[in-house]
Structures are given as structure tokens and as C-alpha cells.
Amino acid sequence: MEDAELRVQLEQYHTLGYGWALTCCSRDRAEAEDVLQTAYLKIMDGRANYDGRASFKTWLFAVIRNTAADERRRHWLRHLRLDGFAGEREHDSQPAERGQRLEQSERSQVFQQALAKLSRRQQEVLHLVFYQDLTVQQAAAVMGVGVGSARTHYERGKHRLRETLRQTNHFHEYEWDRQ
């Protein structure tokens, strides 16, 4: 794929890619931007090559997910080696996060809190299916797991999210089905 074509494709999926990066980075905006930029650089300088085996979107999302995992490992190592550095970053991002929270509706906050209670894999598969409109099979390809495993995360994640939302008082209009 040529550079110009690659740029067009990346731009086409940019907003969706950002949403996916947010999920991979536990909704941390600064982190998501870093991850997305690193993923774009990887793709543009040829460190990540699209071989056409999957759809471009599936491949791009897998690159973003792997980049986020690398970032998490780096953060973890940094945290171990330089105690307090990660804490400073957290402190830096707190005012921005507070601002964002004020902007968002309470309902949206509650939904995000409920999502945060799920395991990483459950969050990922639910995001890919309900936010990105992928099938469970496509989600499995992005996550690098088997379809059976993805389906299990999907079912358990849905069940847990429904139970968590049912316990809150913010979704009265939804009559959650009892399983």
C-alpha cells in the first residue's frame, strides 16, 4: 500500500481508532493520543505492515492494541524503576480528568464506571462489538484470541455489565432482562 493511500485509510478510521485507543488505555485521553500517534508512526515508517489477510480496520485496531500493551509494559517498568514518576503523571492528568467528568453527563459517567469494573478483555470485546460494530469473530482477530475465548468474554462481560447497571439508579428506562 502506498503512503498516500495509507494516509487516506488511516484518516478514514481515525475517529474510530481514537475510540478504540481510549478503551485500550482505560479512557486516559493523553495516553490514548500517545498510543495512537505511536501506532501511526509504526505504520508510516513500515514497522507495521498491512499484509491484506484481514480487513484494514481489523489490522489497524490490532496494531493500536499491541501499541497500547507495549505502553502499559513501559509504564509498569517506569513505575518500578522510578517510584513516583507515574504518580506525577497521574497528578498531572487529574485536573483535566476532573474537567472532562464535569462535561460528561452523570449517566455517561456511571456507564463508564460500570465498564471499568469489567476485565480488560471483556471491555475490549464489548467495545469492538457494540461501539465498533464488529462481529465477535472480527473482535477475536483484533484481540489476538480464539473465537471461543472472545465469545466467553463477550457473554460474561455483557452479563456483568447488565448486572452492574441494574444496581445503579441511572437507567430506570431500561428494564434489564433477568438471565
Binding site: 475510540g19 455517561s108 456507564f111 461501539y131
Partner: protein
């Protein structure tokens, strides 16, 4: 269980999240501009620490070398002084040697006084 009902609710909730994210997404151009380093150096303390460690090693080596050469020179001087040293009683030993040698009677000598 009405799975479709639950799925629709989830679609709706994720859709709300999606529209919020779309409003706050950064511009594509900002993230693909090569001269806009968003990330800072992974370990900003690494370079100064390495320089300090190198300086410490060089300083310690120089110090050890100086101390060793200084000690060798001192030892050399000390040994030179010891090899030339003479005790104050050495004179007595040499004078005693010469006087006793003269005082010891010689058995082979002839009787000078003619005693029988």
C-alpha cells in the same frame, strides 16, 4: 432472555459514548505530524545518571592510581632509609671487636718473659 433487547440497550449506551468521543477526538494531522513529539523521553534521568556514574568511575580510578603511586614512592624512601640506618651501639661493637682481639693470649707465641 431477551438478548436483542439487552444488545440494543448496549448499542445505545455505547453509541452515546461514541458521539462524545467523536467530539473530543484530536485532529488526524496533529498525530501524524512528524515534528510533534507528544511523548517525553522514556527515562529522562538516564543520561545524567550515566554521566555521573562515568565521572565517578574516572574519579575513583584517578584517586586509586595517585594513592598507589604515592604509597610506592613512600615505601621506596622508607626502605632506602632503613638500608642506610646504623644503630648508635654499632660503634661499640666494632671497637669491642678490635680491643678483645688484642686482649686474647696467643698460645703459639713464645714466652716473652721467660717464665718456666
Amino acid at each position: 432472555m431477551n438478548t436483542n433487547g439487552t444488545d440494543n440497550k448496549f448499542h445505545q449506551l455505547f453509541g452515546e459514548l461514541k458521539s462524545h468521543d467523536e467530539q473530543t477526538a484530536p485532529a488526524f494531522g496533529r498525530l501524524t505530524r512528524p515534528a510533534s513529539p507528544v511523548r517525553s523521553m522514556p527515562w529522562p534521568w538516564l543520561l545524567p545518571s550515566a554521566a555521573a556514574a562515568a565521572l565517578l568511575v574516572v574519579g575513583l580510578s584517578a584517586g586509586l592510581f595517585y594513592a598507589r603511586s604515592h604509597r610506592l614512592a613512600f615505601e621506596e624512601q622508607q626502605w632506602a632509609a632503613l638500608s642506610n640506618w646504623q644503630a648508635s651501639t654499632d660503634v661499640l661493637l666494632t671497637s669491642a671487636e678490635s680491643s678483645s682481639a688484642s686482649a686474647v693470649p696467643d698460645g703459639n707465641a713464645t714466652n716473652p718473659q721467660g717464665i718456666p
